[in-house]
Symmetry: C2
Subunit: 406 residues, 2 copies
């Protein structure tokens, strides 16, 4: 992974960076996600290795942090690496969506992963009841939950296999835990390489590699200007990163949209996921000419590994487009990204930066996700919020409970 900041970081003092780094170093002793790249995955690997070869569909019942990460990685890799088993995600109570999802699954060749930290997630348990009632056999299910949660107790009574969430890992930081690793391993994803990618980023940041200064400076810039540039666009030039965007939106929005710890002011940075070149024809106009409240991070893939060329043919009356003749599509998309970046740089008042990942593979996505987790922690520290809770979503749940009890 290569990164480049196009905004001015000269004003950032060394002591600011040092003190931020010290905070995060201390935090990493108690917050669980930091250490996930170094975990022991032998239980997961053994389980996937010995898994029933007749199972073709892995159905994840989970929502938010229990599904977005695995889905992002699956959708990223799927177009280039044929999965061993198909992953399905039930993330909605929309009956149309549930029916459509079910119709794509051969139930005799399906296994269900029920993922809920507490076991009290209304969407997950409602759908689970629907699936479970006609097929209550324990071997159809694997559970991922907290030790001693009610779901853990249920699963044990049922006699199904249970995996446990590691301590102090919140849902939106759990992609590199068993929550993401188990479904991905069952789908044939190389989770060892995934963690290797994350570990490389971790080491680069914590052991003074090239990401150390870059991440600290980006975080300080974002935090310093968080009331001016309160919208953070992630412009990824590959369709494979579409669901990564959704993962980013949850991570960034739910972590940083808070009351400040000390002032209790409402703060928050709004994440936007964009895909190029498509969104050049949609959101770009707003970035170029709209209110100056947005920063933009471009993500590029260095090597698409697809040698697909535009045929060198001249179409009568369309000779103006002969300039694409013989160009590879991967060159074209790269030039499109560079051109848009240059056009934004010319404005002079839109903070830009760039992340280049190597390829569409496990290492790249593992590294990219860990990079964003670190960035989120760093910014959260600076804007004085609790990055790891989500108190704002409880009220709606309480109201729903009352309505359901009526």
């Amino acid at each position: 992974m290569q990164t480049k900041l196009y905004f001015d970081t000269n004003h950032i003092k060394k002591e600011t960076k040092d003190s931020l780094f010290a905070c995060v170093q201390k935090e990493s002793e108690s917050i669980g996600y930091y250490n996930l790249p170094n975990q022991d995955t032998s239980e997961i690997l053994a389980y996937a290795d010995g898994f029933d070869e007749n199972i073709e569909h892995i159905v994840v019942l989970g929502i938010g942090g229990s599904s977005l990460g695995a889905k992002a990685i699956d959708e990223f890799l799927k177009p280039v690496k044929k999965p061993k088993r198909q992953l399905h995600f039930f993330e909605s109570t929309d009956p149309i969506n549930i029916a459509a999802n079910l119709s794509a699954i051969d139930m005799d060749k399906a296994h269900f992963l029920i993922i809920s930290k507490s076991g009290g997630t209304v969407e997950t348990i409602s759908i689970f009841k629907y699936i479970f009632a006609p097929r209550p056999q324990s071997e159809n299910y694997t559970f991922i939950t907290d030790v001693d949660s009610n779901l853990d107790k249920f699963a044990k009574d049922l006699g199904s296999k249970v995996f446990y969430l590691p301590e102090n890992v919140g849902g939106r930081f759990s992609v590199l835990s068993v929550v993401g690793l188990l479904p991905l391993a069952l789908a044939g994803v190389d989770i060892t390489s995934l963690l290797k990618g994350a570990r490389d980023v971790k080491e680069s940041f914590f052991e003074n590699g090239h990401l150390h200064t870059s991440l600290l400076e980006k975080a300080v810039f974002y935090a310093k200007h968080h009331t001016t540039y309160n919208i953070n666009c992630l412009f990824a030039y590959s369709d494979t990163l579409k669901y990564f965007s959704e993962w980013y939106v949850q991570l960034w929005g739910e972590s940083l949209g808070k009351k400040q710890r000390h002032s209790t002011f409402h703060v928050g940075m709004t994440p936007i996921g964009l895909i190029g070149p498509k969104d050049q024809h949609s959101f770009l106009q707003l970035i170029m000419e709209g209110t100056r409240d947005k920063s933009v991070t471009f993500i590029k893939i260095k090597d698409f590994e697809y040698e697909m060329f535009i045929p060198p043919i001249t179409l009568p009356h369309l000779e103006a487009l002969d300039n694409v003749n013989g160009v590879a599509f991967h060159e074209l998309i790269d030039l499109q990204c560079t051109s848009v970046m240059e056009s934004l740089q010319n404005k002079g008042d839109i903070p830009l930066d760039e992340i280049v990942i190597d390829q569409v593979n496990e290492e790249s996505i593992g590294g990219l996700m860990y990079y964003y987790e670190l960035l989120t922690s760093l910014v959260g520290e600076l804007i004085d919020v609790n990055t790891y809770d989500q108190p704002g979503v409880e009220e709606g749940k309480i109201i729903l409970k009352k309505k359901l009890t009526k």
Copy 2:
């Protein structure tokens, strides 16, 4: 369609609304999209009616306004109405995406729609060259473009059928023109009902129906507070509206993200598309506790037409979730939406409103899209921008052209 505004509109004077209405009435004489619900569709219907029954795949080569609208409607209806033909959209120069798209199409049963106003769209023509080089037969292609564009001339020389964009209809307002109607008609969508839905909204607004005041007041409120609430979230409680969100993002962002006509200040309202209940577990925290810079519109479906119940079973240790027993999923999702709305209302400083559409059918989506087009025009008028141009995206295209010429 039913709508309800939960923010205070008492301060809005009658003369403000009247003068805004007069402006839009005048504008509707020259801007083409207003009259699309009343267009003559006989040519499109006849073409679809006589279309080769062996064709199973309709492949749209188009990007931005040339694809987002038809895709939104197709994805909305697809789960409940099996399409007559499958629609595919090529909207990217990402070689991985192009290869994955192609692998899903039986080329012997495919027909291609090339949609480009000018004929100079680099993405569309590049992919067209790739498709066209090995299969240059005219009968494989239908073109939609401006009269006398270079693409029109090319298509005529080739001997393919050409449809023309109506006058003064920009890409992002073109869904109800031939741009959206032709692919949809070929997929078996009832375009007459689609336009009927739009016409109902048009008449309600222009002929003093229930949407007249509601739309004017919503626009005035949004415009008046556009620097405070500069982020407009659309929270749709059905997965079927996922691509409608993408269409909304282009419409809203590209229309309103501008330099003001008179001040040349940068203004712009940032659109966010959310899907419930999924995004309760993602973006909701940011709305609840983050910066007070967001308005939220909830979209509900009144009648899902899916009688799917949660089985009334008690799961040991999970008795707390017995409150969903026997509840229909459509009731649950409705209660979830209402609960979140109430929790946001309790905050007192987040502007909310609600749109209820009847069913997942053509009339509903036609009406919803026309509603949003009207709202965009109204707000654009008030914040003093040219709603219909997109000058900001040209610079990147010019830079790309230079790079390609090198």
